[in-house]
């Protein structure tokens, strides 16, 4: 009997761990157990009305009577109270490298923007999209059930947004994402809404529809290479991008000789690199993240057959901690144009001052590429609230929810760090141009980010 118990002990241990992990996940994501009906019909308000109303309401005298709330309600902020917005990012776990800089971008933007008509802005605490639909669902319900929250900056991951967007939309809020790139969340850029588009969703990130095609075009026509390989990491984002590249490249007449994947958490890349080298490609596209992307770049040079392979990464690796690696020299990157130059937000902050503030406040450089998108998203939300908030004579603020959406819909020529923002009718507010840059000197990252060798614009 003892022997039996001994031999089962490791399995008891493993079982115990599994149960604990499940419990922890359940506790983390089960913020609200009551199932909320997620149908969005009540909030699917026509958003094309009164687009010009936004800017003009600010200069009027403070009225005594509070205005009538619009069709999706209004928020009243009593004198001395704070205006409630939220940030919903992946701030823990293995995607924290993406969510944390987003979160910090929001914090810095609120600090820079200051008060709105005498009211402080409160970000609340503790929302985590966990980079998953479950996380987005739970946090979305928390936000939707708080009728003081006007707008939310998030999510970090497209998967979380598909779950959070309908909830927040139905509650009359707005959700502005700095880093969701899935086309399903907005539109195909040709006028057709995506499957997961809901009124009240906006983003400053680019729409990823054309990145794969842009890279294929660049490789086939500009570099003149015909044998490609692609590596993803199983994440819907990287898999989708690698797949889009494969489809577009084969359509152009090229051959994808190896299409494979690594696991998140893998460290020894010799196996996957050997597998790729076996197919002798001329170019390798690996639109993945740190640290796996770093391991691939570092280990590729030791694998026979990689001497002359052109390496192309995507925006996931367009970060300082990858570009600082000496082995990243000579890598091409596809992604949004991150050469911000002296573009300044309406708060006066530009990329240089932002990064200086960021380093001073948090002691490291941003670990992902979307900090500026996050900053701009926040300033966009705050100035929309600012422009529609009505001061009442008792010192309280009246903020109409529909007016906030209208103000966002009307965004055009808005100055941001990433450039000039203009929102289309499906919430795409960022620039849609995809560029390919060539990074040549690991001690000069700024030049690498600005060294554009190819530009691709979906609409000609």
């Amino acid at each position: 009997m003892n022997a039996t118990l001994k031999q089962w002990l490791p399995w008891i241990a493993v079982g115990a761990v599994a149960i604990i992990v499940i419990v922890i996940i359940a506790v983390n994501s089960g913020g609200d157990d009551t199932a909320i009906d997620t149908t969005t019909t009540s909030a699917a308000v026509d958003d094309t009305t009164t687009t010009e109303a936004a800017e003009d309401t600010t200069t009027t005298e403070a009225p005594d009577e509070k205005p009538e709330p619009g069709p999706i309600g209004a928020v009243e902020v009593a004198a001395g109270e704070k205006i409630q917005i939220r940030s919903l990012q992946a701030i823990s776990g293995d995607v924290a490298f993406l969510g944390v800089p987003n979160q910090r971008g929001v914090e810095l933007a609120i600090a820079d923007y200051g008060q709105i008509k005498g009211h402080d802005v409160d970000l609340g605490t503790g929302l985590d999209d966990l980079c998953s639909a479950e996380g987005g669902q739970a946090a979305g319900q928390t936000i939707a059930s708080d009728d003081k929250v006007i707008g939310t900056i998030g999510t970090s991951c497209s998967g979380a947004a598909t779950a959070a967007s309908p909830l927040i939309s139905a509650a009359g809020g707005v959700l502005i994402s700095p880093s969701n790139t899935s086309p399903a969340l907005t539109s195909d850029l040709q006028g057709t809404a995506g499957d997961s588009y809901h009124v009240g969703y906006y983003r400053t990130a680019h729409n990823d529809l054309f990145q794969g095609a842009a890279v294929a075009d660049f490789v086939f026509n500009q570099l003149g290479l015909t044998k490609a390989a692609a590596i993803h990491d199983g994440d819907p984002y990287t898999q989708g991008l690698a797949g889009a590249f494969q489809a577009a490249f084969e359509e152009l007449g090229g051959e994808v000789v190896a299409f494979t994947a690594v696991n998140k958490g893998d460290t020894d890349m010799t196996g996957v690199l050997t597998e790729v080298a076996q197919a002798s490609p001329e170019v390798l596209y690996y639109p993945i993240f740190m640290p796996e992307g770093g391991f691939i770049a570092q280990q590729a040079k030791d694998v026979a057959g990689f001497e002359n392979v052109t390496m192309i990464a995507a925006d996931g690796l367009l970060t300082d901690n990858f570009m600082e690696l000496p082995e990243s020299e000579g890598t091409y990157f596809s992604g949004p144009n991150l050469d911000y130059g002296s573009n300044a937000s309406e708060t006066g902050t530009n990329a240089d001052t932002f990064l200086a503030n960021y380093e001073a406040a948090y002691g490291e450089a941003p670990s992902a590429a979307f900090w500026a998108h996050s900053y701009d998203a926040t300033v966009l939300l705050l100035s929309a609230i600012d422009s529609v908030a009505v001061e009442l004579s008792d010192g309280s603020l009246f903020i109409d929810r529909q007016a906030v959406r209208d103000a966002l819909n009307a965004t055009s020529g808005f100055a941001g760090i990433i450039g000039t923002l203009s929102c289309d009718e499906f919430g795409d507010c960022g620039a849609q141009r995809i560029s390919v840059v060539l990074h040549e000197d690991s001690s000069d990252i700024a030049t690498g980010k600005g060294n554009i060798v190819f530009e691709f614009s979906p609409n000609g």
């Binding site: 003892n2 118990l5 001994k6 031999q7 089962w8 002990l9 490791p10 008891i12 241990a13 115990a16 761990v17 604990i20 992990v21 922890i24 823990s92 776990g93 293995d94 924290a96 490298f97 969510g99 944390v100 199983g234 299409f259 494979t260 994947a261 690594v262 696991n263 958490g265 893998d266 460290t267 020894d268 010799t270 196996g271 996957v272 050997t274 597998e275 080298a277 076996q278 740190m290 640290p291 770093g294 391991f295 570092q298 030791d302 694998v303 026979a304 970060t319 901690n321 600082e324 690696l325 000496p326 948090y362 002691g363 490291e364 450089a365 941003p366 670990s367």
Partner: protein, 417 residues
Amino acid sequence: MLMTTVTQHSARTFRFSWTDSFLWAIRVFSVFVIVWGFVGTIALGFEGNGLTLAAWQQLFVAGIAQGSMYGLIALGYSMVYGVLGFINFAHGEVFMVGAIVGFFAADALFDAGVWESNFIIAILIVLVVSIFTSTFTAVLIEKIAYRPLRNAPRLIPLITSIGISFFIQNAVQLLVGPAVKTYPQPPDWLRDQIHFLGFAVTGTTILVVVMALLSMAGLWLFVERTPTGRAMRAVAEDKEIAALMGINVDRVIITTFAVGGAMAGVAAILWGMMFRGVSFITGFLPGIKAFTAAVLGGIGNIVGAMLGGLLLGVIEALGPNVILRGWSWQIPVALGLILLVVGIGVVLVGRAMKRKGIVVLGAASIVMGLAGVTGFTVEVPGLSQLKDVVSFTALVLVLIFKPAGLFGEQLGKEDRA
């Protein structure tokens, strides 16, 4: 099992229960896929479609390097299990903390120019810093989290260790941020490939493997040849009797954690030289893998942990290419027919001899024959992504045949459950 259910007077009645038939299917299937994979890989090699010898060597060396780190971390799991009888799941974080603090030391030395000019001195300083941090963390965890639970049921510290693990991960994320931090490059003379016993390897790899082996040898001598080591083995055997013999049990337990932590600190620096990228989640997967390695080698067994680590590393590196790649080789139809006929014969012989091993082999041969005749092949997409599947399957197979691990558990007389 099955053979014992065959009634003596009628060999025709196989009494299958659902569980039995399921187990049989698993046995036949695993023999089939493994043999097909091996043979297919070799056949592909002869046809010129397989990996080159140099590629195999490279994979093997990478596996050894990765495995030596698993082995070093596994020692911590194994020793604590040997002495206290529970799995310290926070051990992966002990490794991670060493790697993170080691990074800051390495970065400072790099900025000061020492890393480039005097690499050996620099790496020794980093090693000391990392070992100290990991040891300190391990001892602190023991004092704060496990000592108060010394007489609690063993599941309690196990659950505590998971809590500690989450705590350390999140604390480190808050302290140093979520970004991946990359150790500076080793100097050129270590990065260049050199030819060593017919293998083309980088100096870094050799250094990593040599340092791992030295540490393991040192630990083995410590446990087997010193009075403290003898005290550790005595406590592992039976805590109460050891205490009666005048051994300070608490002190021995602290020493066990400290030594396990020091090994994790060495692994952390080897990681920093080999893979270089570290972050707050760096400890999680290597921790799980090292735990696997400890179970594979026989938990509680020091030599088993080291060899289990090396073996797991090699299986991870070679497994997908040895097993999965071979499935794309089509078994020739003629060979398939032969296998079919031979297989049926072997099954009949096996049944007559009442040896289930032979029946399994015969059945696998029949399945392989069918695969050959029908021209069935499997092109596995994303081969390398499946390396964890291969290595964990290997673990399951080892445990099916040797439940105590490859080199056996070393436990005291005390009931560990």
